[in-house]
């Protein structure tokens, strides 16, 4: 007794508080020892078990994260973007170097990195670099003073005051073969752009040059355009130009959503920008016209800015504009905050560069404002999907599948075990043989076969439900045996005889009178089964026979990670899912063990 008090005093207030919250105990601890219900006793000894409580805290934390956080970090499960593939974890994409603040000449957003030059022509690079070659910046003695710069998927293009063009980063697909006349300089370069494995440059006299891969982007110059170009804009699969007489011309002979240019604006356009699904043109009267596919709301221009727009820039799924009063507005996809332009206060924006998932604005005072994608907490996978966001919804899926499978197996187990134990005789024999047959079925191979034979002609949701049912229908024998054993022991008790004498029906006796006495045992078993079901589900998904893409689970996030290269180079793709799954199942097993020890007084001696 004395020892007991001492231990109680040693417990942290937090655990006492949790305990009170869960079992509703009031501060009457001194005398409650004698009048506790069995449930309270169990809870009490459970909360004394440090390992079990730690497990419970870990599990609850992961559980709550997976339930709540997806509302704050939504994910489009069909979204894929190769430009963001295999990005390492980190948040450095928008951390503009201090030396550029107040001194920036030009900035440019690349796939997962950014470049900038200051007024003296020095180059700065920051972010997560897709290739180490990006670090090979040519020395300033070689380049002279750089005046323009542009970042692409994995290469950078820059031009100096003499009009010489330099490139570094990825040098394959002909990206390194800068046209001779641009290498020697002499012509004035008006605009340069590094795109998706392609480089573009426009001279002051309106001639455009392009080099690099033409796999995604085949450029065709219509009659009379070359030599008459004022400005150009590029997306992953199209380049469009603005001619000197204010017309928008797509440089392609294929028609697409991009080529449905509104007729009324032709001849009046002053600025042009493209996203991956749509195009926007700015006319002389300050109005923005958009066309293309309205994916992620890029076509929905805010009404209040019409007529006041001064210049426009486009990223992958967003547009940013500078208004005539110098303030900035963005619209379109806001997954990474690209459409949430900051308020500049009294300062005025003079230059804008949007690309991929971010926008930079340089103000009159020379400060740099940045908004959009800062980076990924846990990196991205091979399809450019955010590992952290997938981990959250994957957890939700894994836990849901596990929980429903356990509920199915527990319900079947209780029913069959209860009837079998209470009835006895032939029914008992038959049901227990059935249990033995089910448990003789080789579990994992059977699941694989069933899910592959039944699962090829159904929808994703049906497939997920199929997995739950297979798991539930094959894992009930354990719980049935346990319930049967407990019912066998309980049915000889006096209260059962009393209930019988009162005329309670058999089902009433089994489920209303006997079941509450063995519920603790069932809970323990269900907890341990939950861990097993989660493991089985993730194993199935891992080898490709469980929940399948694009739905995420912790198992299928690890698919494809067993190859040595991925394990070594892209560690974030397997470490995080493996860690969370591991912690989760260990925690559940700890909780189960703790509960078992709390319920079974005999095992305390162990």
């Amino acid at each position: 007794m004395a020892k007991n008090k001492k231990e109680r005093a040693r417990r942290s207030t937090a655990s006492v508080a949790t305990q009170r919250m869960l079992i509703g105990g009031l501060p009457q601890e001194e005398k409650e020892d004698l009048q506790q219900s069995p449930m309270q006793m169990v809870a009490k000894s459970f909360f004394k078990d440090k390992i079990a409580v730690t497990g419970m805290v870990c599990f609850l934390f992961i559980f709550i994260c997976c339930i709540v956080l997806p509302f704050f970090f939504p994910i489009d499960k069909y979204y894929q973007d190769v430009t963001q593939a295999n990005v390492a974890p980190g948040f450095s994409m928008l951390s503009v170097p201090k030396a550029l603040q107040g001194n920036a000449e030009m900035l440019s957003v690349g796939s997962t990195f950014s470049v900038g030059i200051d007024k003296e022509g020095n180059v700065y690079e920051w972010g997560t670099f897709p290739t180490a070659k990006l670090k090979n910046i040519p020395s300033s003695s070689e380049t002279g003073k750089l005046t323009q710069i542009s970042a692409g998927l994995d290469h950078v293009l820059a031009v100096n005051e003499k009009g010489q063009v330099f490139t570094w980063g990825n040098d394959r697909m002909g990206l390194a073969s800068v046209p001779m006349e641009l290498r020697t300089g002499g012509e004035k370069i008006k605009q340069i752009l590094a795109g998706y494995q392609i480089s573009l440059a426009l001279t002051e006299d309106g001639t455009m040059y392009n080099w690099g891969s033409d796999y995604l982007l085949n450029i065709m110059y219509p009659e009379g355009v070359q030599g008459n170009i004022e400005k150009f804009a590029a997306a992953t699969n199209i380049v469009m130009v603005l001619t000197k007489d204010g017309k928008v011309v797509p440089l392609t002979n294929k028609s697409s959503a991009y080529t449905t240019i509104p007729e009324e604006i032709q001849g009046k356009v002053v600025d042009l920008a493209l996203t991956d699904e749509s195009a926007a043109a700015l006319t002389e009267d300050g109005k923005v016209y958009t066309w293309g596919n309205n994916i992620k709301n890029t076509l929905t221009v805010p009404e209040e800015i019409q007529g006041q727009v001064a210049s426009i820039a486009g990223g992958r799924y967003h547009f940013s504009v500078i208004l005539k009063d110098g303030s900035i507005v963005s619209w379109g996809d806001d997954t990474h905050g690209q459409a949430s332009a900051p308020n500049l206060g009294s300062d005025k924006a003079v230059q804008l560069d949007a690309g991929y998932y971010a926008t930079y604005a340089i103000t009159e005072k020379g400060t740099v404002k940045a908004w959009g994608l800062k980076g990924y907490l846990m990196g991205t996978d091979a399809f450019g999907r955010d590992v952290f966001r997938r981990l959250l919804i994957g957890g939700r899926m894994t836990m849901t599948v596990g929980a429903i499978a356990v509920i199915i197996s527990t319900v079947i187990g209780i029913t069959i075990g209860g009837i079998s134990g209470y009835k006895g005789g032939k029914i008992d024999n038959l049901l227990m043989r059935l249990a033995e047959v089910v448990s003789s079925i080789p579990f994992l191979p059977f699941c694989i076969i069933l899910s592959s034979i039944l699962g090829n002609s159904i929808t994703e949701l049906q497939r997920i439900m199929l997995i739950m049912c297979i798991l539930g229908l094959l894992s009930w024998p354990g719980i049935a045996r346990l319930v049967r054993g407990s019912v066998l022991a309980e049915r000889e008790q006096e209260f059962v005889t009393a209930a019988k004498a009162l005329g309670v029906k058999e089902f009433g006796i089994i489920f209303r009178h006997i079941l509450p006495n063995i519920i603790t045992v069932i809970i323990v078993n269900a907890t341990l089964d939950f861990a097993t079901c989660m493991l089985t589900e993730s194993s199935l998904s891992f080898i490709g026979f469980g929940v399948s893409e694009p739905n995420a689970t912790w198992g299928n996030m690890l698919t494809g990670a067993q190859n040595g290269q991925v394990i070594e180079n892209y560690w974030w793709r397997w470490v995080f899912p493996a860690l969370v799954l591991g912690i989760c199942t260990i925690s559940i097993n700890c909780i189960g063990d703790g509960l078992r020890e709390a319920i079974d007084p005999k095992s305390k001696e162990r």
Binding site: S440, P442, F443, I448, L535, I543, G564, E568, G582
Partner: protein
């Protein structure tokens, strides 16, 4: 009731279970997409005249008894299965019985080695922790085993590959032997053992976790018994008490749990084999499903079923060996 009678009864019962499962398998067989006759005839549909093909088709269907009622079909199919006539693999263009031997050998080899490793570590460890329960050694083993059996095997594989194949490259991560190696005898055996190291290690980790805990729990239950006190009181040496009196009695629950574990081990090696590209039954099962080679898949499934039933029979025999009371029970 004698030992023999008990076993006979169990054996009859196992035959009954086999019957039920084989009906289930037959249902799966009938559910499989594709026409078995067309699969068997293969390319002849395009190369023969339609009438001649139809005649051949009907003839084959009759031969396979596909025109008869379902129970007759079942008996024919079962007869084929039991006589080793497993059908034709469309993936390998050979009868299944000819291609199944090599992967079966690989799988059995892998699992047997794992069993040896697990038993030789888990049983002594379980006994020692039970004897010194609640000591520091016991506590730390308890924590390690809970981690061992909680983490899914494919995560352990990833970790092992990271440590032993990427960071310290001492083991190969896939295959069963070095490509192009023309070794014989001991050298070949060593090469296979070297390739087996990682899969066996991974499979052992989860096995050791579970079995150690069961052995420990069973031993603790037994060590509390009065007859152990008696044995100690009459002055037996502690070693004799533990290994002869206690362990022998703890064996009954251990036999049960190890049987289930072994059956699960063969099934679970599907995952390990596909991670380490080990050319065993599990990998063949997955490849077969991907290629929709259902005769092969069903044969492999049959192997798992028979393994599970044989496991049950062995468990019964082991019961009669370790527990004399079984003979007397009904």
């Amino acid at each position: 009731m004698g030992k023999g009678q008990y076993l006979l009864k169990r054996l009859l019962y196992i035959v009954f279970v086999f019957f039920i499962i084989s009906v289930l398998m037959f249902v799966i067989y009938k559910m499989m997409p594709g026409d078995p006759v067309e699969m068997m005839l293969g390319d002849s549909k395009t190369s023969m005249k339609p009438e001649a093909y139809q005649a051949l088709y009907n003839q084959t269907a009759e031969m396979l008894n596909l025109d008869k009622p379902l129970p007759v079909q079942y008996v024919t199919w079962m007869g084929n299965m039991l006589t080793g006539n497993f059908g034709y693999s469309i993936q390998y263009k050979k009868p299944v019985s000819q291609i199944i031997a090599a992967p079966m050998k690989n799988t059995v080899m892998l699992n047997m080695l794992t069993m040896v490793v697990v038993f030789s570590i888990a049983i002594p460890l379980g006994i020692v922790t039970a004897v010194r329960k609640n000591g520091i050694f016991d506590k730390s083993v308890q924590v390690l085993t809970i981690v061992g059996y909680s983490i899914p095997s494919f995560i352990i594989s990833l970790l092992m590959i990271f440590v032993f194949a990427v960071k310290i490259p001492i083991f190969p991560i896939s295959g069963v032997k070095t490509a192009g190696l023309n070794a014989t005898g001991i050298q070949a055996a060593l090469d296979v053992a070297w390739h087996m190291a990682l899969p066996v290690l991974v499979m052992s980790v989860s096995g050791i976790g579970g079995i150690t805990r069961y052995v420990r729990a069973a031993m603790i239950d037994v060590l509390r018994m009065d007859y152990i006190k008696t044995a100690r009181a009459k002055g037996l040496r502690e070693k004799v008490v533990i290994y002869v009196h206690a362990f022998r009695n703890a064996l009954i629950p251990i036999v049960t749990i190890t049987t289930w574990w072994i059956i699960g081990l063969f099934g679970g090696s599907v995952v390990i084999e596909s991670v380490f590209l080990w050319p065993g039954l599990g990998k063949m099962l997955i490849d077969g499903l991907m290629q929709r080679d259902f005769s092969l898949v069903l044969t492999i499934q049959m192997f798992y079923v028979i393994l599970s039933l044989v496991g049950n029979v062995l468990m019964d025999i082991a019961y009669t060996l370790v527990d004399p009371r079984v003979r007397l029970e009904n």
